[in-house]
């Protein structure tokens, strides 16, 4: 229910703010008609806080909520071409399994400007439907505009599950929406399953020292942000198609209260981006100095991989933060992870333990990194790795 109190001053800001044309003036007071979706844009626009939305009675019937939704985050190349971030493929693959278990549809939610061409790719990763809001005002991510659109779409179609990537954007918007809708939201999940019809959300807490399974049994949709590079993506099936459902809004980019002044993307992260690399050679405190990291770099270059670093190595200034693997850095999931001179603090292990093959090299036979390694080499990486680099170069014939 939307309520407008007597303290309305008749400024009509809410009329301009409403993306659905549902607000109008009756005499000197604002009023909402049946087009209202309870999106809350007017509540934000009102200078005297006279508009309130109460939802508590509307979520009683959980069976009315159906469908697994995945919020698709896009980015753009240096030449301005939009693309779906890799985590979207992971979420659609995981969402496909959840939707099949529930016997419901898997839907991708795509917001942006000039993004319709990405629908086919979303279908190939399992989406049955693509809800599309393609609008010039949505060209750049903006909390206010994106939240307004998503809240309206969720209120209209009532999905049972909404998944977001646990990226800077996902973590900015998801709590805003959960709070607006008064629904449960679980942060930074590393596992998802269905338990008795509810979404079972697994996440690490206390810096990865402990795992927790979380349910949101009484509210819908059940929402979660999911860490990139943890869930496995399926192979795309280009024969699949999805129904595209276009949603139109009359959005005014000027109503966004936060303005973008400047954006700078790091084009060249030292030694390649670790979040998408299939081979990572990582160094820790044990590599001691720049010369130690030169050994790491050379092996990574020879194998065609990227260089990672433990927090200790980053703190020692041996590598920039962009190369840090772990809880406070980047979670990675390469096919091969070589950890050299890394003892294996739990914060590091949660960031790389999903890698397919882990090789650890450490002088200390009791180093915790050996607990997750498929191959545990007890020795000095400074002496071992240059020999490996030479042998690999020889094997490759260069």
């Amino acid at each position: 229910m939307i309520e407008i109190s007597q303290s309305c001053i008749g400024c009509s800001k809410c009329v301009k703010a409403c993306p659905f044309g549902a607000m109008h003036m009756e005499g000197k007071k604002a009023a909402a008609d049946e087009k209202c979706t309870l999106c809350g844009a007017c509540v934000q626009a009102c200078p005297v806080q006279c508009i309130s939305i109460s939802r508590k009675d509307e979520v009683a019937d959980l069976s009315a909520f159906k469908g697994v939704w995945v919020y698709i985050e896009t980015s753009e190349t240096a030449s301005g071409e939009k693309f779906v971030k890799g985590v979207g493929h992971e979420l659609l693959s995981a969402g496909r399994g959840l939707a099949d278990t529930l016997g419901e549809e898997l839907c991708a939610v795509l917001l942006g400007s000039g993004v319709e061409g990405l629908s086919g790719e979303l279908a190939s990763y399992g989406a049955d439907k693509v809800y599309l809001a393609d609008d010039a005002a949505l060209n750049d991510y903006n909390t206010d505009l994106y939240a307004t659109v998503l809240v309206a779409m969720i209120s209209k179609y009532k999905p049972s599950v909404v998944l977001y990537p646990s990226t800077y954007v996902g973590r900015d918007i998801a709590p805003r929406i959960a709070s607006e809708l008064y629904v449960g939201l679980t942060a930074d999940c590393t596992g998802l399953a269905i338990k008795e019809g509810n979404l079972l959300q697994t996440r690490p807490a206390f810096g990865g020292n402990i795992m927790a399974d979380i349910l949101s049994p009484k509210t819908r949709p059940q929402m979660a942000t999911v860490r990139p590079n943890v869930l496995k993506k399926n192979a795309p099936d280009s024969s699949r198609t999805a129904q595209v459902v276009r949603e139109t809004f009359s959005l005014d980019a000027k109503s966004a209260r936060v303005k973008l002044v400047e954006r700078k993307r790091n084009e060249n992260v030292c030694g390649g981006k670790i979040d998408e690399a299939s081979i990572i050679v990582s160094g820790g405190r044990g590599m001691k100095d720049a010369a130690g990291f030169a050994v790491i770099q050379e092996l990574a270059d020879t194998l065609g991989g990227a260089v990672g670093a433990s927090r200790a190595a980053v703190d020692m200034g041996l590598k920039p933060k962009a190369n840090q693997v772990g809880q406070s850095g980047t979670t990675v999931c390469p096919k091969l992870y070589i950890a050299a001179g890394i003892s294996g603090a739990v914060q590091h292990i949660v960031g790389m333990s999903a890698s397919d093959v882990i090789v650890a090299i450490n002088k200390d036979p009791n180093a915790p990194i050996f607990n997750v390694a498929k191959y545990a080499l007890v020795g000095d990486a400074h002496q071992i790795l240059p020999r490996v680099t030479e042998a690999v170069k020889k094997a490759k014939g260069c």
């Binding site: 959960a178 709070s179 008064y182 679980t186 795992m211 209260r257 973008l260 194998l303 545990a376």
Partner: protein, 262 residues
């Protein structure tokens, strides 16, 4: 300028261990600290006060022991401390925490800026800040590294996945702060600690801030913890010993066997 900083007392997660048998946290002997992100947020607020004048109010929700982090914040320069402390808040998830905090912030009133740490190191959710912003219908800028205010316009440098953005908004705004990886929190001098004892401190209950019980604590929280357990251990693999030359040979064999080198 009137600035509120939301802070939390947390166990020092770098010292938390898990009981391998029961899967529960061993908290005994683990010191409580001011959440480091909140510490950084407080320093950002104090720097703005230094530059633009005004006052800094710290707000925390927690048990009565949490008074110690409020006193620490006051010793560092915060003017007023408020502790939301009530049994009905127990078991709050991020939604219910944000609800209680937003009620308290509303009661303080006329705030120009609310600053939160991006997340608490015990929960790592980063959800409470944006949830508070929504409940107060404020614009938000999350994961800020640096903030500055000039003529009622806030300019923030914030992190994005592959770089940074500079954003602007007119006050009032809510910001959440990330921190540099080499951040070392400042601690107050002894005389500053002594002086902080005289600064205003208030204890507020749910009733004081007009928080409705149905939205508070465990009952008001949409999420439920189903189970807590120690992280699953990956099965340890083969331990290989030998000279550097032997180990290098073995590693090359492994790379060939796993098809990373052909």
């Amino acid at each position: 300028m009137k600035i509120a900083v939301c802070i939390k007392q947390v166990p020092d997660s770098t010292q938390v261990k898990v009981d391998p048998k029961t899967g529960t946290l061993i908290r005994a002997g683990v010191p409580s600290i001011l959440n480091p992100y909140d510490h950084f947020a407080l320093e950002a607020a104090l720097a703005l006060k230094e530059k633009n004048g005004g006052e800094v109010i710290v707000v925390s929700m927690g048990p009565s022991q949490a008074k110690s982090v409020i006193r620490l914040a006051q010793a560092l320069g915060a003017d007023t401390g408020i502790l939301l402390c009530d049994r009905v808040f127990a078991g709050s998830d991020t939604w219910a925490t944000a609800y209680a905090l937003s009620r308290a912030l509303r009661k303080i009133g006329k705030l120009d800026l609310i600053i939160c740490g991006q997340m608490a190191i015990d929960g790592d959710t980063a959800q409470t800040g944006p949830a508070v912003a929504q409940m107060l219908h404020l614009p938000q800028i999350t994961f800020c590294e640096k903030i500055d205010v000039r003529n009622r316009t806030l300019r923030a440098k914030k992190h994005i996945d592959d770089g940074f953005e500079v954003l602007e908004a007119t006050l009032p705004v809510l910001c959440t702060m990330t921190m540099p990886h080499d951040y070392k929190p400042k601690y107050p001098s002894f005389p500053a600690v002594a002086r902080s004892e005289a600064k205003p401190f208030e204890l507020w209950t749910a009733q004081d801030v007009g928080a409705e019980e149905q939205y508070c604590g465990l009952n008001g929280s949409p999420t439920r913890v189903d189970r807590v357990y120690a992280p699953p251990q990956r099965k340890p693999g083969a331990v290989i010993n030998g000279s550097a030359a032997e180990l290098a040979d073995r590693l090359v064999e492994i790379l060939k066997k796993e098809c990373f080198v052909k």
